[in-house]
Symmetry: D3
């Protein structure tokens, strides 16, 4: 039987971000020849890494030539089809974010929403011509909105299509919106066709039949989830005076942000003057609650608060792994 | 009536080479905003320059949203269709060269030619799976060769398709062949599907009906042809002793490379010792015949040979412009 | 009421270092358009970030169009004026260090100190001509030194001013001194006009009248101080044998570098052979005392010393925040 | 007596363009040490090249520490003063073009012209606050327009001044206008304060008293003018049939673009079939008349038209040198 | 007595990696002038850093002009000689890895091993010509293999030596093997002459006679070893339920990867519902056993597993320092 | 028989300059794979281009594995030996200039010349230790100067050798002298060991025996010499009034810089007013005499002076080719 295969993006910013993301998860990729499209992951023997374009990743996994992949939710939804061959293992890896959205010429002043667009098109007596690289998702969206349309395919630079009469408007990926503005286009207020970011997918059949594939998925999900969970947390140590660990614990539980994953670790501290009531407190908090946590700690008498970084947080079993087992059953 | 439009490639090396090529022809493009897809050509008022992907250029000209374009012969042939809407004005601008060719795994040792491939596929009892971004040209080629096949589409990185079982072989653009070798593929000896380079095309209808479009084409072809002709020539001055201009001319006509476009310009030279028989000779020669020309000039007594660069050579009327008029008639 | 505003340097190395510094403090800046001069800080809602030149930052805060800023101490002192409108919140952010110093031609061999300079100038019978971009600070310094002088303004490249007779000497920012040497200039031994680094400043009036501004300052100072304190510390865990936590604590207090912020945290360790006297010791030390700390720990019997990084250290209340409240009162 | 000195910009695009411009004129600069601010020009011995900021160049020439300079017309007009010490030798070197212009917030919809601005300001009952790095030129312009104003100085990033209330509007250098648009500003239709490009200037006194300085100016102007004149011309050779040089000349004089600097050079051509009526014609034409010239040449029977580049065109005496002598007298 | 000296590579990737490596060890280098070959280490006063080529480092330490150095094992073994003047303090700093290996033309199909090579050369009746930059190591290897040979020296680009007949084969440094393949060469299966990586060396005499040198070595080895040990470890905290610390310890000792450096630190945790049996467990594990450690922890009931980074791990005394003392005695 | 081979430098600035130089001579190199060390020259079939280090080029030509090469005169003289196998075809290609020179510590104030050095060394009573990468040339120079010495080899960074006591002084390549100064070294006033630039060399035996090699050398020398000659010349056209070509010629011969290679070409000009005395004059002049030439032309009545570039100037037979034939005979 051939090696298992994981495909990741081969070019540009998405490629760099994916390699960086996996490295942060503890999964280093080794690619001996920069012009070849193969690599390995030393800590996961038996798994070959392939470098493909995002769309080819979806098609390769769907037809079984590749087993796992990291790609964009946009191209996944555009090309995943209806045969159920692609299983979505993780839908929010937290990078590669962009939006597929409808944009119209700035000069269409009365068209601010999708509803306005419908009114406008009805007044024309002909279908709307939309240029897009995502015909499937765009068609689904416009059909649901009851707007008569016709898709015009394009290889790139959709932004000039309306200006040159090639199409009436576009359905395209938008990040800062500056390129739209430079070409005198404007996104519709409620024209979001698909929000996208990087996702982890797998071939359904291989997971059902190959236990080694299941083991790889588990290892991938373990590290990915533990890393993503850790990214948003910090580890805090503080000194606090109190008659007992229980008394200090009670004070901490009375606050909202410093209760910890399970409970705080509280140990006695030896101080120079021999006061036996000092304790060291250790707790994990959400990074975006740091400011409140410090205030709460001070409010209940903590001092010498030391914050350290967290690399991974593992919970009992990766929830997405359990979800996948359920989906396979 | 809207401005006339010329589309050129918007990205990468082809974009840079096209801008550089037009500049060498004396046709400077002015693009005010790097993120916008529009520009102008100060010496050709009334002509807007658009920046599009090569394939979109073909489609835009075919459907009439753009009037003229520079694109690759490969995507032109792939997408030009059969309605005659695209007129090929110049088929060899001399840059952007590449070949669409068939490549097989290196391990297929008995398959060196297209004939070998046919034998191999016949032995399989199933059609050949070919991954390509050029389904039209590849299908036409394989059909002509009587090989049963099935096209597999791909977005990029075709080179790994055979290795992962996504396809049996590929039909792809090849320049140095190094990427093929790095992925253990080999081009077939006679598997050239389409040789390509940059070409100048126009919309047929607009040329038939819009005299201003004809004028623009003429100006474009004048400069392009004069530049391409000049690129391969050098201007030579030499001193030669002879009783008369006619005698010197006769000596020059006896040689093969120094006859000139029409005939050499021969003028008397005034020398310090008063010898009245010295003449200055001026002639245009082919750049790749320079070494022979120098030998021939020396052989008939020339000295002080000075070579200077040539920017343009104009002939009576651009031949390709005449060819186009004939095609329109 | 308009949003609160924080201005930071807009260009060059100082801009990069400021963004990096704030990021290290946990304060990420989001700037949607690289050519616009505005951004936001997601974790401090209601605060707009502006990008200005260091001098404009001082002037904007002084006249109240901006509320807070990070700039250089050199331009602050040059332009802060005497109206007390600028409050210096933090005077040593630890980066952007440079010195404003007097430099003379290398050929002035008898002028090594400011005193030598005074003697030299007195012998001339005319004032010293000094080229500088800091007329205020330089004037103040030379006046205090009793040297008659005249300031010559310049936009840049002060280093050639003495060579071309534009001025006698310069008062300029110096980092490695190589540019001075390349232009045959030499700094005076005691000619330091102003030592500078990046500082945090605020508008005095806004802090007196706007409680929301006070809250922002507190949040900025909390993170900045906690980060700067943490930068110079490390967290140490070690194993140590001792009858009791108190006995171990006593041994640690007998050393000079391992006493900890308050006192060490000491917990029993469970070892394989059941020896009940092993304890784990946790203490924070100064980074530059690591080598001594390890020696001291070994001297009192520690083993298995594990050092981990520290992200923040919070004390009871940011001292500079208290200092500011005092200044406002 | 010290060497003569020519100052050129020391930094950024203007520095690169000036070095490139002088090189194109045949004036190569040799700078031994990249961090030193001195160089030489091998073909003009006795002339030291200094690298300064544009404003410092104006001030240095005005106070006599530097003799000649290339700087921008904008900073020249801002800082040249009224003492007549700076002589403008060449006012259009053809690069470094930019415009000092008034710009207002996009939201001021009723203010499209300077007249609108006057009406607006009058309605306020207080002077207009204008942020600018060009107080002198801006004041002169606004005074002439009868608009009450107050100048606010700034070091950079003027574009945010109106947004933060630091000023009402700005007077700043504009090239593509994109930065204005990104900061929601709009130039006034007739708000051009000063059009600028690179210029060549000299100190008036040194030219009056130092004959060697005059010789250097002559050499600089010779090359600069000959290069600028050549930049816009091409050299054309063509073959033409005619009974005599005079007959051909007459035909050429009947056309508008091919008369030549003085008259065409016409020489007999020796052709293979012995026809004695062929002549070679050589003429210099304006580059932007090339297309017409080719048409005219064809119209009167020319063929084999060869175009070659021109490096310099010298006329009898540099007109600007004569103008300078007049100004000095 | 002069300052002590540490030489490190002066150029290219090895220079960057060495500076980065020392920085990771906590040993920052300060180099005031990029073009000078000297620097200092603020935390080790009295030690000058020199920047030399790897081979010059070996020679300088051998002849006593330099005291310590980081260089490659390859050039060390090539140039260390037999006088025992160079002491190898640390033989595996973990970066700068490469192999000195024998490579033959791809066309030598019967030569796959060193034994094959011997047979081949014997059949020639003349010695093998080997091009190399490592004559000493290559001679030693080939002599040991009983192959008659002749060394041909070369400055670089050894890869073309066989193709042009300059040598029969090469002995060269190999990393990915791609350059060999591009030049149609192939490494022998067992042709490894010397495996190399960065190493730390010292002059033997200086260590014997200069106690200050011993102190520097100790400090270098302390940090280097503590960093290298830490690089492969992680710090783990987990929550676990158990009647006592001893009971939990017993469960942990029953597993293979979570025993810790000495023993785990186990402290009671205060939980919200008052259950007194929860404990916090802290242990150091090998980074490459993380996946197993998590499984083992879960197997014995752990939850809330938090993993944090480790900067240094110090053991009782640097083993390599002890080894060095032994070597000196 | 194998193809003929030309070796050129493989790395760094010398490699780029050589490829650029050959291209300017009209000799384009085609290198299909950037990591391979082979290429071809389309206009010289049968000649393979190899890319080697400068020293390896000398050795390869000397031992006959390569036929021709471009390398530095410094390494040629260091390694050419005494067997006469290397023939120097062109000794001044005009780029890659540098000097091998002696440099001493700046602190040796009494040693300014080689004679001073001899006195200094004699006073020591021990030989001078000189670090160099050019032992042969340096030994020859010091022996001729009667200075007792000892050579110390080094791989690079010679500049620190004196500072660390590795050698007393150095003999090294010097360009701007800045690196010497940064390391407190100073070149001796008369310590030039060898001036160097790029040179063209060939193997003596191959030229004696292989007529095809002679043909290649001729072609190389033709283009190289014609290009180098042209580099320093310009082509001038001017209009001049005179009764006859002879009269004008006489006036030109009375001047010093405008006599031309042989004599000027003088043709009648047809002017608008019919004046029959206008002539067009064409002459080649030295580029560095342009300013004088213009003055002289104006002095004898010329106007409308047009200067155009020159690509090549061929004389009757390449003098260096004749020199080589003589050397071979």
């Amino acid at each position: 039987m051939r090696d298992l295969r994981l495909s990741i993006p081969s070019k540009g910013r998405l490629a760099e971000e994916t390699i960086e993301f996996l490295k942060s998860c503890g999964i280093d990729i080794y690619k001996p020849n920069p012009r070849q499209y193969e690599g390995t992951i030393p800590i996961i023997p038996g798994l070959t890494v392939l470098f493909q374009r995002p769309t080819d990743i979806v098609i390769s996994i769907r037809n079984g030539s590749v087993d796992f992949g990291i790609t964009g939710l946009d191209v996944l939804e555009e090309h995943r089809g209806t045969d159920g061959e692609i299983l979505l293992l993780h839908d929010s890896l937290g990078y590669g974010k962009c939006n597929l959205a409808l944009a119209v010429p700035e000069s269409w002043e009365t068209v601010q929403t999708v509803a306005d667009l419908r009114v406008e098109v009805e007044s024309w007596g002909r279908p709307l011509k939309v240029a897009t690289k995502f015909p499937e998702l765009t068609s689904r969206f416009l059909t649901a909105q009851n707007i008569p349309f016709e898709i015009v395919s394009a290889e790139g630079t959709l932004e000039i299509a309306p200006a040159i009469g090639y199409a009436d408007m576009i359905s395209d990926l938008v990040s800062s919106g500056q390129t739209l503005r430079d070409n005198r286009l404007r996104p519709l207020a409620d024209g979001l066709v698909q929000a996208s970011q990087s996702v982890l997918v797998a071939n359904h059949s291989v997971l059902k039949t190959n236990p080694q594939a299941l083991a790889v998925v588990r290892q991938l999900l373990e590290f990915v989830e533990a890393f993503l969970r850790a990214k948003n947390n910090l580890s805090i140590f503080a000194n606090m005076r109190g008659e007992s660990a229980e008394a200090i614990g009670a004070r901490m539980f009375s606050q909202t942000t410093i209760g910890g994953l399970n409970g705080p670790t509280i140990s006695p501290i030896v101080v120079r003057d021999g006061d036996p009531n000092w304790h060291g407190v250790h707790v994990i908090i959400h990074r975006d609650q740091l400011f409140s946590a410090i205030s709460e700690l001070r409010a209940i008498g903590a001092s010498g608060v030391v914050v350290t970084p967290v690399t991974y947080i593992f919970e009992e079993e990766p929830p997405r792994y359990k979800a996948m087992l359920a989906a396979l059953a």
